[in-house]
Amino acid sequence: MKKITTNLDNFQYFYPYTVNIVGAQSGEQINYMACAWHSALSFDPPLFGVLISKKRLTHQIISQAREFTVNFIGFDQVKLSAQMGRISGHDKDKIKECQVELAPAKIIRSPILAQAYVCLENRLIDVRPYGDHDLFVGEVLAVHEDEGCFDLNGALDAAKIQPLLYLGSDLYITIAPESLKHVLPD
């Protein structure tokens, strides 16, 4: 029997979700944050969305820069995710504090994270408010991926990459490659 509750404090805990580090550069100001609420939104045009609280410095910087990068990091970068998620850019320079290694993007001005196995360069095309978060929608202009991190079918090579997954409440996990199954509908 399922437990039913109307206390919705943890309604969103249907995790795990992959974690990415999202951010941008506006003028001299650079800030990134860990983000678990995100999704691809469209194949054509290629669109990607991230949800960011209005309180976050990243919100302000992406709004000004009109662009952002989305950087997927591996399980070995778990500490970085925790730091980028909990430290506020309003208080500290997270890039220096967390020794984030930045690399130039191909098309946009905002840098990508050198530690990431996949990075998306996005031009901001829309911002929509949803409660206490805003949905930032980016048109994907370029994708950077570590050599060999995807197999010939375009699937993440689970033997090479351990994606970082967030379970909520500062808990992280990764995938078990031995659980991989290729399943067809019939």
């Binding site: 003028g27 709004s63 000004q64 820069a65 009109r66 911002v127 929509r128």
Partner: protein, 326 residues
């Protein structure tokens, strides 16, 4: 540019019109970038059509505006045919020498004239579209003659080595310049975004005209800000451009290719945060500028943005009050 020579079906027509729209949309932007990079009141030429001496910079802006009107005509017809207007943009270039930009602009005009004039319409099929295409093509013929006259005049007067305004050598360290670039980018984005919605809602003339008015306001401010940038020692930037060893800038992504908001409510919703972001940028920039004339100009821009925001918020609220409005 893809050639569509035989127009027999509605799909052929939409394909031709969309190829043309993508082109017109991109060049209207490219010409204006070229004009804003050209010294003002320095390069005059005798215009063979207007039969008078013109400032090449000013006339290039005028040609860019003609291309915007073409985009509107094409987009509206595509919608009427049941198609989806495409806003993908071509590559955009800026050369260090003014004359090389005019060469490119002339070549672009010839290319699109060929597209329009080689489209063969089956007899009696889409006569109004055929007429529109022919009419546009002769605007392009005029533009080509005007660019040719600009080039000839520069050569005859020995001004073929005239350079575009250079970019500020230390622009990234000047916060005022950086914010103004952000403002320019948003002004341009909003100008085009409003134009896209003018196409989307062309059947609703009063909404369409309101949106068009805002688009023109953003265009005017984009224009004024281009001049302010020059006063601050910089020049309009091309979004996502790379510069080669010869100083030629090229961008494959100079403008958004997708504008959100397919229906009235979602289109109006998406404009409000963007107008708000623009207001915040003006509010951030104005205290950083010491020149009184510039701050007065910027304050006028800011005031009009507030009017836009007020109007857009009420357009949205009013649209939400009415059941069945799409």
């Amino acid at each position: 540019m893809q050639k569509i020579e035989k127009i027999q079906t509605k799909d052929n027509a939409i394909q031709l019109l969309n190829t043309a729209l993508e082109h017109e949309w991109a060049v209207s932007f490219e010409y204006i970038i070229h004009a804003y990079s050209t010294p003002k009141a320095k390069l005059f030429y005798y215009d063979p059509i207007l039969k008078t001496t013109m400032d090449a910079r000013a006339q290039t802006i005028q040609i860019g505006i003609d291309e915007m009107y073409h985009s509107l005509q094409l987009g509206i017809i595509i919608k009427q045919l049941g198609g989806t207007p495409s806003f993908k943009s071509d590559e955009l270039f800026r050369f260090p020498k003014v004359i090389d930009n005019f060469y490119r602009d002339k070549k672009t005009e010839d290319l699109v004239t060929h597209l329009y004039q080689t489209a063969e319409f089956e007899d009696g099929v889409f006569p109004k579209i055929q007429n529109m295409i022919l009419n546009i093509s002769y605007d392009e013929v005029r533009h080509a003659e005007q660019f040719t006259a600009m080039i000839c005049s520069m050569k005859n007067e020995g001004s073929e080595d005239t350079l575009c305004f250079p970019s500020y050598p230390d622009a990234s360290n000047r916060e005022d310049v950086q914010i103004l670039h952000q403002i320019m980018r948003l002004e341009n984005e909003l100008l085009h975004r409003y134009l896209k919605y003018v196409i989307d809602f062309s059947e609703h003339q009063d909404l369409c005209q309101r949106l068009y008015k805002n688009s023109i306001n953003h265009m005017r401010h984009w224009d004024k800000n281009a001049g302010i940038l020059i006063k601050l020692g910089d020049v309009i930037q091309i979004e996502n451009a790379e510069k080669d060893v010869n100083g030629v800038e090229k961008s494959t992504n100079p403008m958004p290719s997708f504008y959100p908001g397919e229906d009235r409510i979602s289109a109006l919703e998406t404009l409000i945060p963007t107008e708000n972001d623009l207001i915040l940028l003006y509010e951030k920039l104005i205290p950083k500028i010491s020149n009184k004339d510039i701050t007065e100009q910027l304050n006028r821009h800011l005031a009009l943005k507030r009017e836009h925001l007020f109007t857009q918020e009420w357009l949205l609220k009013n649209a939400k009050k009415i059941k069945g409005l799409t």
